[in-house]
């Protein structure tokens, strides 16, 4: 390696290292905050455990086994049930629509396959505050405000465009030959779908499911408008804690980490797929 190339390599690593610090520091800050006691927070910033503050498990104990368990229990259950329910619905309904668009001639009025796909996907552009105001009145009329049922339905619609788009990308990469063969051999469309298409679609379905789950899990504004107490989700819990007792960083940090943890795991699982399959199609 020549001297100049070595300098270039050093420069690249320095730039990547700098950005890594920028990415990691805020997460590190939250992690250590969850191990701080009140003094370590309120007497000014402390940076390194055992060096400038003594870490404590108090916040984690309170949340997992102690007085905070009540606080976090219901929102966590709500987040899980609403997330899984709405995501399952969105993936099934979205995959059906995507399959219809990818494999069959569709015509609704002047709209054909691609127009309908575009129409479905474009619904994602609609700012949620617009639908949120009307949904509040609609759910109120059906007594679905602040219910898991209401939130599940709303999040299904929220994720449907994304699910349909991802599954459409996926079906386009799967050759139609095998199902055509099954159909020629006398299988019905439903049989071909269940025995041929579903098995090969499992990777796409899983990836789509995880993507949609992350969006439902993280969603804030609609939950803020449509829940108050019984159906409120983790983001709402954190936001509410924050306005009530802002300085209790340790407890807020622990709750935030609990909210973030599943998504970090999903990201680690998905990142290869993300780069290789889904977003490579973004330029099309």
């Amino acid at each position: 390696m020549t001297g100049r190339r070595r300098w270039v390599a050093a420069g690249i690593y320095a730039a990547l290292g700098l950005w890594s610090v920028f990415v990691v520091f805020p997460l590190y800050w939250m992690l250590i905050a969850s191990f701080k006691d009140p003094l370590a927070v309120s007497q000014g910033p402390t940076f390194i455990p055992w060096v400038d503050f003594q870490p404590t498990l108090a916040a984690w104990k309170a949340i997992l086994f102690g007085i905070e368990r009540e606080t976090i229990g219901k929102p966590l259950t709500n987040s899980i049930l609403i997330g899984l329910g709405s995501t399952s619905l969105a993936v099934v309904v979205g995959a059906l629509a995507a399959y219809g668009i990818a494999r069959l001639p569709v015509r609704v009025g002047p709209m054909k396959n691609q127009d309908i796909l575009f129409w479905i996907v474009s619904q994602r552009i609609m700012p949620p505050i617009i639908t949120g105001i009307a949904l509040f009145l609609m759910l109120r009329a059906f007594r679905l405000v602040d219910t898991r049922m209401g939130m599940t339905l709303v999040y299904t619609a929220f994720n449907l465009p994304l699910a349909a788009w991802l599954m459409h990308n996926f079906f386009q990469q799967v050759p139609a030959d095998i199902e055509e063969a099954a159909l020629v051999d006398g299988a019905t469309r439903a049989q071909a779908l269940w025995h041929v298409v579903v098995p090969v679609s499992v990777p796409g379905l899983i990836a789509t499911f995880l993507f949609c789950l992350v969006f439902a899990w993280n969603e804030f504004l609609l939950a803020l408008i449509l829940t108050f107490d019984r159906a409120r989700t983790m983001p709402i819990l954190i936001a509410a804690q924050h306005s009530q007792r802002w300085i209790e960083w340790w407890s807020l940090s622990a709750m935030s980490l609990i909210t973030i943890a599943p998504v970090v795991l999903i990201t680690l699982a998905l990142q290869r797929y993300l780069i290789l399959n889904v977003l490579a199609g973004a330029g099309r």
């Binding site: 950005w19 629509a97 505050i129 504004l221 983001p235 973004a282």
Partner: protein, 290 residues
């Protein structure tokens, strides 16, 4: 069952859900903007003419929120694009620890915006946060991260850059990795290297993906609310209030649903105009892939 009706069978659940939960609410909100709403003793709607819309046009707080939103979108997305592209170019080569960098750089975009807002509010804290302490350590005076209007807006943008540069990074990295190797090798054999290779070969091939990513990101960024809600609540005063936050405050804190709906539609018109403009401007470039 013929093929035509089969297709409709596949599509109808999705269309029904979107009609019910997206299109109908949109029409409802549109109706609200021309109404006077009372929630006392059950919902009652009365025709209110253009009252809400004329109020919107003369509402300084609306125009302030619009300006804030546009500044966040333009500055934020531009920074995210430049940084995301730079990082993608740096990572797109055989690197020791390349996978670690990639995973790390993607991570922030997946995290709950509420948690991100909360993290950054701790970091920006002017007396017990780390930033001003580090500044003091190197002898610099503290920065009013959240207590000065202009600085607070910049702080919101910085948070957005942290959150969303990963999106630009991953889309552009995917595009870089799918570039045809033959073209790059041919150019290198011809002696094109470094900046020239990027400027005349790589960048034109990236352009369609880059424009798509920018448009997607711009359309998303217009909706910004979560982080602002936590970090500043729109303050100090209204200097970081976005359109969505303004509409939420009016609709659900002042409980003026009709006027909140009108503000939300103002945002919608803006997003729609940008989307249509983007499609017009961008279309000629989308074809010139190679």
């Amino acid at each position: 069952m013929n093929r035509r009706s089969g297709a409709l069978l596949f599509l109808s659940p999705a269309v029904a859900i979107l009609l019910l939960f997206t299109l109908f609410p949109f029409a409802f909100t549109l109706a609200l903007s021309f109404a006077r709403v009372s929630l006392v003793g059950g919902l009652s709607l009365r025709f209110g003419g253009l009252a809400n819309w004329s109020r919107l046009v003369h509402d300084d707080r609306f125009w302030n929120a619009l300006e804030n939103t546009v500044v966040i979108v333009v500055v934020g997305v531009a920074a995210e694009f430049v940084l995301g592209l730079s990082l993608a170019l740096l990572v797109n080569r055989p690197l020791r620890g390349g996978n670690v960098f990639r995973t790390l750089f993607i991570l922030p975009m997946a995290l709950a915006p509420i948690a991100i807002g909360y993290i950054w509010r701790m970091i920006y804290h002017e007396t017990i946060g780390p930033l001003n302490a580090l500044l003091a350590l190197v002898g610099l005076s503290p920065i009013p991260w959240l207590s000065d209007g202009d600085v607070a807006l910049a702080s919101i943008i910085l948070t957005d850059v942290w959150h969303w540069t990963p999106f630009m990074f991953i889309v552009l990295l995917a595009a870089l990795q799918s570039l045809p190797l033959e073209v790059l090798e041919a150019a290198q054999i011809d002696g094109t290297t470094g900046w020239q290779l990027f400027r005349y070969i790589v960048f034109p091939m990236l352009l369609p993906t880059a424009l798509t990513a920018i448009i997607l990101r711009v359309l998303e960024a217009f909706k910004i609310v979560d982080e602002i809600f936590i970090i500043t609540g729109g303050g100090p005063g209204v200097s970081t209030e976005s359109l969505t936050l303004h509409a939420y405050y009016v609709g659900f804190l002042s409980f003026d649903l009709a006027y909140g709906a009108t503000i939300a539609l103002g945002l919608f018109l803006l997003v729609l105009a940008v989307a249509l403009l983007a499609l017009r401007v961008v279309r000629p470039y989308m074809g010139v892939e190679t």
